[in-house]
């Protein structure tokens, strides 16, 4: 029986922060290698999805990288404006991660298949 869970219930860390004054970077870090590989192999989080969520053209995405050593995905986007100048809404870009939290991930229960998250 297939089920879905929001990414915030699967990942250990979902965060955003400045990477210098012109970029913001977001990290999704998983609790286990199994969870990470399930997400990586499942192709649930893609550049195209990030582009849709943040309405940033795919070619403007600075990094979209799976980092096996940390069971993590890193996504770097341009800031809407240079940090800390007129119109700033988030000086440290610390609250820009929220759209990632509700990405829905299909998961299988114990009877349903190879991967079990809970």
């Amino acid at each position: 029986m297939a089920n879905t869970l929001p990414l915030k219930d699967i990942a250990k860390v979902i965060r955003s922060k400045n990477a210098g004054p012109f970029e913001m970077t977001m990290d999704i870090i998983f609790k286990s290698k199994d969870d990470y590989m399930m997400i990586k192999n499942g192709g649930y989080i893609t550049k195209e999805l990030i582009s849709r969520l943040y309405r940033v053209p795919v070619e403007k995405i600075i990094s979209f990288v799976y980092f096996d050593a940390a069971n993590a995905i890193k996504i770097t986007l341009p800031r809407p404006r240079p940090q800390g100048t007129i119109g700033e809404t988030d000086m440290h870009a610390a609250q820009q991660h929220v759209p990632l939290m509700n990405i829905m991930i299909p998961v299988k229960d114990k009877n349903g298949g190879d991967v079990c998250l809970r």
């Binding site: 012109f22 970029e23 050593a69 069971n71 770097t76 800390g84 929220v98």
Partner: protein, 454 residues
């Protein structure tokens, strides 16, 4: 320093934020070869470079530096402090030198100090710009003569070379205070000086420059041991531990890319780095590589003043008004433009921050149709003078308070104002306008060194 290992104590990720003396002293008992602490960041905004402000108060720096100097004097452990004051301007290197002199005088300390400066002459930058040696660092416009001239202060991030120069000219230096510095440099410098693997030197620098932020839970004091083929990091607070996942995850922190970390003179490549649990509270790292770049570049950072700001803060509870918010804002904007028609539109800016709608995420907010109970509206006005910013803000506020809108039944006032003054002057606002890479022939010469004794 011993040859087969280098022992490094970093009491915190940021000088001036304070650190627990108890764990720092425990670190001192572990025979460090050097104490390093970074003071720099662009993260608290462009006003430091734009207005000459320091990240922390002089008192906060005085307190932290006092602990470092005591260790330096009593235990004869050198202290390296990078990116003085936050921005690493010449003025802030001198301010730190003054603090060190003051403490030394009152305590009777004696030190040999090296000051390394990182501020760039505009003439020199203009020349390099003309010669095509300056390019954008990330999503930034190409640099122009005009932007160089309008910047208040421009610094360059030094690499390890100026530190190496000090260490070979004065092997017994007690204290180094440097202007803007690539954060891992003070940690990497002794290792590179003694011929350790540069990949490991830079990687341990990358991890430790944030103090024990790589531990679980995140902390302040951290101790690192660099050896020929690996390094080990361990937090000093026994309530914290470094784990494979906490250290690997920290590698991501505030970086554009998870395993390719560009810096002055090359890239640290962590794609083959291995993280292993050494003891219950420490992690061993191997396999980090340094790839020298073909051309040596330094990162330039600069900011300029762009005007003065005033704001008003208003709450809205009326559901009819909340439903008409886009119309109300349109009306307020056109009213202000008409009223101040003698001021060219490009001379001032009005930005409405609407909390409850998209105040935090602005253009990146994906939720469009949320119906809030209340809204908080902050109007930000920027103009060439404080008076003009406040006048525009005031006009917008009175229009917003009284303007009619579709379906209005609350005819006495549209907004709830919590504070007086109703218009709040914020002072000057700055903007990062230089964030570029510059090719350099001699990465030492660019950063002048001054030696002094106190």
């Amino acid at each position: 320093m011993s040859k087969d290992e280098i022992r490094i104590l970093t009491p915190a990720g940021m000088l001036g934020y304070g650190f627990p003396a108890k764990w720092f002293k425990k670190g001192l008992d572990m025979n460090p070869d050097v104490i390093t602490i970074d003071s720099g960041s662009t993260d608290s905004g462009p006003h430091k470079l734009g207005l000459g402000a320091m990240t922390c108060s002089r008192e906060a720096y005085y307190k932290d530096i006092s602990l470092l100097l005591e260790a330096c004097f009593e235990k004869k452990i050198p202290v390296f402090i990078s990116s003085a004051g936050g921005d690493g301007s010449d003025e802030h290197v001198d301010a730190f030198a003054e603090i060190i002199k003051e403490i030394s005088k009152s305590k009777g300390y004696h030190f040999n100090i090296a000051l390394i400066y990182a501020q760039m002459e505009k003439e020199y930058l203009l020349q390099n710009l003309k010669e095509g040696r300056i390019s954008p660092c990330g999503p930034v416009e190409p640099l122009t003569e005009e932007e160089i001239n309008s910047a208040t202060t421009i610094v360059a991030q030094m690499g390890v070379e100026p530190y190496l120069k000090v260490l070979s000219e004065r092997p017994n230096i007690d204290i180094i205070v440097s202007g803007r510095t690539y954060d891992p440099v003070p940690i990497a410098a002794p290792g590179i000086k003694h011929g350790f693997d540069p990949g490991l030197c830079w990687h341990i620098g990358k991890i430790m420059e944030c103090g024990a932020l790589c531990a679980e839970p995140a902390g302040k004091n951290i101790f690192g041991v660099l050896r020929k083929d690996h390094f080990v990091v361990e937090p000093l607070n026994p309530g914290e531990k470094c784990t494979v996942s906490s250290v690997a995850a920290h590698t991501l922190y505030e970086k554009s890319h998870p395993y390719l970390l560009p810096g002055p003179g090359g890239i640290t490549d962590l794609s083959d780095a291995k993280f292993e649990q050494e003891s219950e509270r420490s992690v061993r790292v191997t396999g980090s590589r340094f790839i020298p770049s073909e051309k040596y570049t330094v990162k330039l950072e600069g900011a300029k003043k762009v005007g003065y700001r005033s704001i008003f803060i208003a709450g809205i509870r009326d559901p009819i008004a909340i439903g008409q918010m886009d119309e109300i804002i349109k009306r307020v904007t056109s009213d202000v433009e008409e009223y101040f028609s003698d001021i060219p539109k490009e001379n001032y800016q009005m930005v409405f921050h609407i909390y409850g709608k998209n105040g935090v995420m602005g253009e990146y907010e994906p939720e469009k149709d949320f119906k809030p109970l209340e809204l908080c509206v902050i109007l930000e006005v920027a103009a060439p003078t404080q008076e003009m910013a406040t006048a525009i803000c005031s006009r917008a506020r009175t229009e917003m308070l009284h303007c009619p809108y579709e379906g209005r039944i609350a005819t006495a006032g549209n907004i709830a104002l919590p504070f007086t003054p109703l218009e709040i002057p914020l002072g000057e606002v700055c903007k990062f306008n230089v964030y570029h890479l510059m090719e350099v022939d001699d990465p030492t010469k660019l950063f002048p060194i001054k030696y002094l004794e106190v």
